[in-house]
Structure formats: C-alpha cells, structure tokens
C-alpha cells in the first residue's frame, strides 16, 4: 500500500470511507497476524481455496458446452474433447482438479488431526471444515454422473440405492431422488443443477470457515497460543509468498498429471456410454470415496453399512470432545503421535480394500480396518487424554527450543 501515489490514495480512501473493502482486505489478508512458525503443512488451506476456484471457473466454462440429457450428455463431453477450442484442456483440468481438490483437503484435514487444530476455541472452525467436506463429496459425486458413462450411471445407481436402506420411507426417498423408478433423465438433470449450485454453497461455508479462523488466528505446529506480537508476523508478504511458492510447486505436479496422465485417476469404464442393461464387472467409486466405500461394504447389513459409512464422517464432528487431551500438537504427545500414523495407515488400508472386489481376504481386512477406525475415535482418543504423559510444552512460539 505504501507505494501508491498520493492521487490513488485519495481515490482509495474515498472508496474505503464508504465501503471498507480495502481496510477489510488489509486487515484479513495483509496485516493479519500469523504465527511465525507455520510449516509447509499449513499451505494446504490456501491450496484448497485455489482448487475450489479452479473447479468453479472450469466448471462454468464446461457448462457452456455440456448438455444435461441422457441422449446427449456423453456425446457433448466428446464434443468438448474434440471440437471446442482448448476443450480437452479445460475438461481434463476439471476432472483432475476434483482429485487434487480432495488430495489437498485430505492433507489439510490430517494436518488438523496431527496438530490438534480442532480443539478449543476452534471447534466450530472444524465443524465448518467437515461441512465443506460433505458438500464437496455431494458435489463430486453428482459431477461424476454428468458424463453419463458406465461408471457414472452405475455409481449413481449404487449410491442413490443407499437411501433405500432407510426403514419404511427408503423406497419413497430413492424414487424422489431419481424422479422416477431408476436413475434416468430426471436424475441427470437435477444432478446437473445441484452440481452447479453446491459449489457456491461451498464458497459460502468457506467464507464462514475463514471468519472463524481469523477470530482466534491459525493454530501452529507447537499447538500453543500466541502470547504477543513477538510470536506473529504479518500475513503479507511472509505467507503470501510462501503460499505462492507452494501453489507453484503443486501446480507443477498437477499439470504433469493433466498433460501426461489425464486419465490415470479416472476409470476406463467411464468412456463407455451408460447402459442400463449391463453392469460393469467391478464398480468402484472415484478414489477419494474408497475408504468410505470400504466401510460401507465391511458391514454385512444394508442399513448397518450405510449407518457406518455416514458415522465415519459424523464422528469427526464429535472429535473436539472425544479427544480429551488438553495438549494440541502431537509433537508433545508421544503416544498420540504413534496412533496418528496408525490411523493414517488405517485410512490408506481402507482406501486400498475399497478398490478391491468385496470377497475373501478383502472382506476381513476391511472389517478389521473399519473396526479400528471407530476404535481410534471412540475408545483410544478419549482414554489417551486421561493416561498420556505429554512432553513439556515450550513457553512461547518465540522460544520453542526449551523443551528439546
């Protein structure tokens, strides 16, 4: 702001006096005091925001060329890929952008788990984050239906059938979702509308997420509260440049996938047009749903599986109270640190069995991993807070070395 010449300053002051956008930005994105010790794991929040923006921009563009009708959806995607100028690029960015959005968000969540970012006074911040995850899942699921390939159709059929597990009203609910007696044109059409709408809801929740964040400021790797100005630095230029560096690095990986392996994260069956008469041999959801899909299939009962799957996310809402330890960061919690990595491993195992057919050894593995998932949250974490002896916490962010 200092470089602005006097005349500009006059105009900006004039606007800011009437509509304080400049001072708002200055307050929340320039001067915003940020702990000075954030590591690279704190880059993933802004990365998630970036990928949300990419998805919205490319999505609006794709919607200019896409046709949401069962007779034309698949062909209109091929029209985008073959005829529209740069259409293949925009579509591949949107396709892989969804995957990368989930990658950065999952890392962002695991960062929160490791450093205890969900603990007081950030419980609502955490809740808003989970809400964003749920909205993302709904959006991604409906987006995957739009190309109307085999996986789109059968994925939609399987997932919407989950609701038929609800006692008494399940059947009516699925028919209401479908707008018919199976996944068909009315379903595609409404999924398209909702796929367009939900991202803007996500933007709304993201704004709340940031408001909540800025109320008490970012958590930090030490997990201790900041004691004064010596512990913080202004967001700009220190974290803007760090975020830009991280963004550039991740974009390099992202575009390597987009340009050289654009279909690697997708499924070949989705290049086969939807056929309601023929189920593919092996239906798998997109990779980011696999852990939850594994939990769904681990329970031999239909309703039970659905409940377990949804509980796997809803248990996260309770996490701030299930974790009874007063210490936030795993750095000072020797046992929790181990449990955290076991939990990461458990999540990976769930993802892996989710991609396998539900038979033989895979069922046993998925049941054990599901069991552990809930044991981790419902038994280990509440007990651990009572018994674990944490390492001594440093006095302040400015002098963290005392404990070493």
């Amino acid at each position: 702001m200092a470089n602005l010449n006097k005349k500009n300053k006059g105009v900006i002051d004039w606007i800011d006096y009437r509509l304080p956008i400049v001072s708002f930005l200055k307050h929340s994105a320039v001067d915003y005091p940020t702990p000075k010790n954030l590591n690279y794991w704190w880059n993933f929040g802004s990365l998630a925001g970036f990928f949300l923006l990419v998805q919205i921009i490319t999505g609006i563009i794709l919607s200019m060329h896409y046709t949401a009708h069962v007779d034309h959806a698949f062909d209109s995607i091929e029209h985008i890929m073959r005829n529209v100028n740069h259409g293949w690029l925009i579509r591949y960015i949107h396709m892989n952008g969804a995957s990368f959005f989930f990658i950065v968000v999952y890392i962002h969540i695991f960062r929160g788990l490791y450093y205890g970012s969900y603990k007081a006074p950030r419980e609502l911040l955490w809740w808003l984050g989970i809400l964003i995850l749920l909205l993302m899942m709904a959006t991604a699921f409906m987006g995957y239906v739009l190309p109307w390939g085999q996986m789109s159709f059968w994925g939609a059929t399987v997932i919407t059938n989950l609701f038929s597990a609800i006692p008494f009203i399940g059947e009516s609910i699925t028919q209401w979702l479908w707008g018919g007696y199976s996944v068909d044109n009315p379903t595609l059409s409404r999924f398209y509308t909702l796929h367009f709408l939900l991202p803007f809801l996500i933007v709304g929740v993201v704004i709340l997420h940031i408001v909540a964040l800025h109320t008490h400021g970012s958590n930090n790797p030490l997990g201790i509260d900041k004691k004064g100005p010596q512990d913080t630095i202004p967001f700009h230029p220190f974290y803007t440049i760090k975020d830009l560096f991280g963004l550039s690095f991740v974009l390099t990986i992202f575009f390597t996938v987009v340009f050289f392996a654009p279909d690697y994260l997708g499924h070949p069956d989705n290049y086969v047009p939807a056929d309601p008469l023929k189920t593919p041999a092996h239906i798998v959801p997109e990779w980011y749903f696999l852990p939850f899909y594994a939990i769904l299939r681990a329970i031999p009962d239909k309703l039970g599986g659905v409940i377990a799957m949804f509980s796997a996310i809803f248990v996260l809402f309770l996490l701030p109270w299930l974790d009874t330890s007063k210490v936030r960061s795993a750095t000072f919690r020797p046992i929790y640190k181990k449990l955290f990595w076991i939990f990461v491993l458990d999540a990976l195992i769930l993802g892996w069995v989710g991609s396998k057919p539900a038979e033989g050894i895979y069922i046993i593995i998925s049941r054990l991993a599901t069991l552990y998932y809930f044991v981790h949250f419902l038994i280990l974490l509440p007990l651990l807070g009572k018994f674990e002896k944490n390492r001594p916490l440093p006095e302040s962010i400015g002098k963290p070395v005392l404990a070493e």
Binding site: F238, F259, P268, K338, W341
Partner: protein, 250 residues
C-alpha cells in the same frame, strides 16, 4: 511409522500383481506414442484407417470422429472428401419428407454401420459390436489391450466350452463374441508396406489411439512448455520466499 506406510504401499502393489483376473495382462508393445513424449506415427495411422474402413467398419462405428478431423493425420481436404464419399449417409428430409441417402462429406461424422442397437444385435448373434471411437481409452492399458486381443485368438484348451463365442486369452472370461477379424493380407497398403497380421494390428491400434485421443500430440507438446515454465516459476518463487523470510531472521 512412515516406513510402515511405505512398506504397505509396496505390499499393496505386489498384491495387485497377484490378484490378476482370469484374463491375461496385455503384452507390452513399444508404439510410437508409448513414451510420454511420443507422437502418433501418421503413416501408420493412415494405414490403420485403411484397415478400419476395409475390415472393421462393416460392423463397428466411429461415431465421435468427423471426417474433417482426418486432416490431422496428414490428408488434405480433397482426400478427406474422397474418403468420406465411400460412405452413404442419411440426407435431411427432402421436400416430400423422404429421407434419401447421399455421399458423406468433410463435415459429417463417420457413418454408423447399423441403424440402431437392435439391428446391430440381431446381425451379430445378440452381441453388438461396440463403437471404436474411444475403445483405447475405455479399456485399461487400451492400446496394448486391443493389440493383444487382436493377436490373441487361439484354439481353446481341451475341455473349455466357448459356446457361440471364440477363445481369446486376453478377453475377460476368455470368450469373445467377435470372430478373429484379421489374419494378415486382409488389405493391400498403398504405400507398399507388407500387410502382415502384426503390421495391420499395430497400424489399426495407432489409428484407434488417435481416434480416442486426438488431443494427444497437442497435449504433450503444450505440456512440456507448461511444466518447464512452472519449474522455473517454482524456483523463482522459492528464491523470493527465502529472501523475504531471511529479512525476518536478521
């Protein structure tokens, strides 16, 4: 614990190898486009187009591909029009409302061999021949898969019942409804290349890879530039980042 995760990843990968389904994994072949920066061999794709038109097109469609896009394989507009003219396509209804046939032109899409799915099924014992526009993308390891499949017709092992189909070890379930389409010398290449079975198959797969991914060459060429640019930008941002943070420490 991090080592644990690495071991797990290796373990799950090896398990993947063992959990092979009943179909054989496709044989790996080094196509002109197999390497990350490889290109579509235009001569091979042109021969593949000939194989497609003279053999495959009687049963298989290519509905997402327009004749005009054949220009990308090195034909000029007149050549494209004469290729298109081999096909008859439904014209718009005339003044009496009748739909007559006309020769296909530049702007048309490849004419489909059957009027609809049911006609295709009836003509082929109930198994309709799939559209080939996206075949290479619609199968895992598509180019190698299609190649292996077309070369993979064998006598069934004794006691193996193929029903009304044919034995093919690369097909899931080992039974395929399509009889062996290529035997070698099915076409006569105008450029003098000898039409052995493997030559025909390789050329056809090159052509079908292009129909699946007409963006392939542009994508890879643009990709190299973008990645190079991003690498330089990442390094510059890193230096900027270090410089700005070094002020903090002093």
């Amino acid at each position: 614990m991090k080592n644990f995760i690495i071991i797990f990843l290796l373990f799950s990968y090896t398990l993947n190898l063992f959990s092979a389904e009943e179909a054989l994994k496709p044989e790996q072949y080094n196509f002109s486009f197999s390497k990350p920066l490889g290109k579509i061999n235009k001569n091979s794709a042109q021969r593949g187009l000939q194989v497609f038109i003279e053999v495959c097109a009687s049963c298989h469609g290519l509905k997402h591909v327009a004749y005009r896009s054949l220009e990308e394989l090195g034909y000029n507009k007149d050549q494209v029009n004469s290729i298109a003219a081999q096909f008859q396509i439904d014209d718009l209804p005339n003044e009496e409302g009748e739909i007559l046939k006309r020769k296909a032109i530049y702007s048309d899409y490849f004419v489909e061999p059957y009027k609809n799915l049911n006609e295709a099924k009836t003509a082929n014992n109930g198994a309709y021949p799939p559209d080939l526009s996206l075949m290479v993308k619609a199968r895992k390891d598509g180019a190698n898969y299609v190649r292996s499949l077309l070369l993979g017709y064998n006598e069934p092992p004794s006691g193996f019942d193929v029903g009304e189909g044919y034995y093919n070890k690369y097909m899931a379930g080992n039974v395929i409804a399509m009889p062996q389409p290529l035997y070698g010398d099915d076409v006569e290449f105008s450029d003098g290349t000898k039409a052995t079975l493997e030559q025909e198959v390789n050329d056809l797969v090159t052509f079908l890879t292009w129909t699946s991914m007409p963006d392939l060459e542009n994508r890879r060429a643009a990709g190299i530039k973008v990645i190079f640019f991003l690498l330089v930008m990442t390094i510059l941002f890193y230096i900027s980042y270090r410089k700005i943070w070094s002020e903090l420490k002093t």
